[in-house]
């Protein structure tokens, strides 16, 4: 029995401890907002937060995150009021949308760590998350906007 805390909800699972968190979330818990893109830590589509840190859930075995606080896209406010979500809407970032959970959670983690990130910080935090639709210019703008929304809210 493995305990898993996802979006403040406790789960007890009898899964293989080697099962990647991605498939635990998607196929066992039905949290399909986290996406599969490559399966080998190359694209960032599967990014979730473990104790606030972005991790690639496709290569993170269940055993490694037991006891950690996991946040998925579904764990952000349902009314989309997180500054990053607001900024994403205001800048009209998503296109197909498939990579966006990974993009948004990476940005959430970045801004939690650095409320006013430099361009280099943004490059570093976001460069591993691929977007085939090319939403990068809008992501850059949205992160700046999210930082200022968060500052106003604070």
């Amino acid at each position: 029995m493995i305990r898993l805390l996802v979006n403040d909800q406790e789960h007890e699972l009898t899964a293989d401890p080697a099962m990647p968190l991605l498939w635990v979330l998607r196929d066992l818990l039905g949290l399909t907002g986290t996406k599969y893109g490559c399966g080998i830590s190359l694209c960032g589509a599967c990014t979730v937060l473990a104790d606030g840190e972005p991790v690639r859930s496709c290569t993170t075995p269940l055993s490694k995150v037991s006891g950690k606080k996991i946040t998925t896209i579904e764990g952000l406010p349902k009314d989309r009021s997180h500054p990053v979500q607001q900024a994403w809407i205001e800048e009209q970032v998503p296109q197909c949308g498939y990579c966006q959970s990974g993009q948004i959670l990476s940005a959430v983690a970045l801004l939690a760590r650095k409320p006013r990130p430099s361009d280099a910080d943004v490059d570093q935090a976001m460069s591993g998350v691929l977007c085939r639709c090319g939403t990068y210019p809008r992501i850059r703008r949205a992160i700046r906007r999210a930082a200022s929304i968060a500052e106003k809210d604070a």
Partner: protein
Amino acid sequence: MPRLAVTRREFMRISAALGGGLLIGIQLDNRARADAADAATAAAADGMFTPNVWLTITPDDVVSIRVASSEMGQGVMTALPMLIAEELDADWDTVRAEFAPINPAYANPIFGRQQTGGSTAIRGYWRTLREAGAVGREVLLTAAAQTWGVAVESCHAERGQVSHGNSGRSLRYGALARRAAGLPVPESVFLKEPSQFTLLGRAMPRLDIPAKVDGSAGFGSDVKLPGLLTATVARCPVFGGSVGKVNDKRARSVAGVRKVVVISSGIAVVADHFWAARQGREALEIDWNPGPAARLDSATITARLAERADSGTVGRNDGDAERALASANRRLEAVYEVPYLAHACMEPMNCTADVRTDSCDIWVPTQAQTSVHQTAMRLTGLPADKVRVHTTYLGGGFGRRGEQDFVIDAIETSRAVGAPVKVLWTREDDIQHDFYRPATYNRLAAALDKQGMPVAWRHRIAGPSISQRDATARETSGSDFSATEGALNLPYAIPNILVSYARVNSAVPVGYWRSVASSQNAFITECFLDEVAAAGGKDPYALRRALLGEQARLRAVLELAAAKADWGSPAAAGRFRGIAVAESFRSYVAQVAEVSIAGGQPRVHRVVCAIDCGMTVNPDTIAAQMESAIVFGLTAALKGEISIADGRVVQSNFHDYPLLGFDECPDIEVYIVPSEADPGGVGEPGTPPIAPAVANAVFAATGNPVRRLPIRL
């Protein structure tokens, strides 16, 4: 505004929606009705006819609009409703969009099929949807006039309500819906003049975006059903190979694996979840029959193309290019090559099917609903009305999702195991079993006169055909658009032009890839033109401008992009500019790329893009599609290459088929030329000019022309 007859009025129908609303749609003819598999609509119909719904207005004022094109990021789920809402004078805040079911009435008029591709959504539905909205406005106005006992002419529709000029009375559309539902379809309607548009041409927030920032948007891979199993398929790595001997004993003993079945594409491992299916697949012991392509490699393919390049069929022959070349004052020759490319949609291919003895349901991120419907009917033998196609959001499309391979996987697997099954491809499957953008080989020649102006142009293309990909024995056609688009329509005023095409298919499957043949031909022609400019001592911009005298729209975007990019003044130290233009899908695009070379690699800093796509629907979506198409094309220009060895694809995932990353993305500026011409395409036309713009900047930087993609210095 002029009153226009409703086209195909006999098919337009008005009726009551459930709950007393107004429903506007199209009546299906008998055959179409037999094909109809639209249970929800049938239930709402009054039994006399089966209208196919475009829009419904319910008493709570909500306007529900059905979107017949697939939403794959290009914004149709907002742009198509805007066409209806504009003419309906709807309150945009009350507009909801939903995916249309499969039905012939939803066919895109350009294809006659329900299909999304070729940048056709706005072009195809432009008139139909505006008429549907205008019919709605007309009957709502009439309903209001009848309610108040006043003349229709004294009533006015705006933002979801009708008001009466003199009395100041007004009624919301929701309150008028029931009465309007009983009215006949008007003979004719007003369609607005562009100057009267209040929505079209305005940047409207996309309706699909909220669901894409909270994880709730449902993609094909997210489909959930009771009892759903998940499968992954092992395919022969060699093109055209087949399954020989299989030992699935170990696979079947993996916890969670339910069944292992042989289907036409390979061996499907069916499990409770994807992780088990994948482990099961890895435990399969398979002997493949590699088949005749076992020794095929890229070098062999290229050699065959080179051998055939001069024997193509002529598709365009202006003047006498051969003679002009033979007697040329100065002659220039070059070989240009491009590789196969994978689509690499962010969401790997997938499809969910529930095949039963008397029905078949398919949930699929598809660009081709009509094809899916036909595929399912063919495989199951079920009649049209027993096959339902449910379109999900698409995690990218780019042409890949018009194919049927992943659909066949799901139908065959579901039928074999007697349960609903989701077949999910791995990224490796997706890269190694694509329908690739064709690799082509091109011989270019130009003749220059004494003033350095080109007087002859010859372009000989050799490569596989997409449109005739299965017909290996048929004659080549010089005008095969899937290979010659972007080359045949060379826009420049050169008196002697010859373009030929030799169709040389191989075992490597080819398919439609964002902007199709223009994706490579713009690179080839626009880069060779820069070689011509250099040889003639001309500035690349000035030469284009001189040769585009007759091409007003192309010339205008060229001038706009050059002006915004400061073409006339030198770039910053270490920066070099390249310019390119391309017309594709009835839109005109020019781009200027600013590039530096560092560590033997080109880096693109800035791209200025000007587009004339005719009348604009949602300008912010146009800008987004230009950004998207540029990033997509930059991946191809700087990184993309699928190579073949031992009959199989060498690359397998993003380490060896990399995509442009966040930190490599240039600043992109988009300028839209105001126009009242009919709308052109938007999803693809931004891709063709970027590779040549960048390659021409590299040429400017190094003095060496770039004749092969991806760019390697």
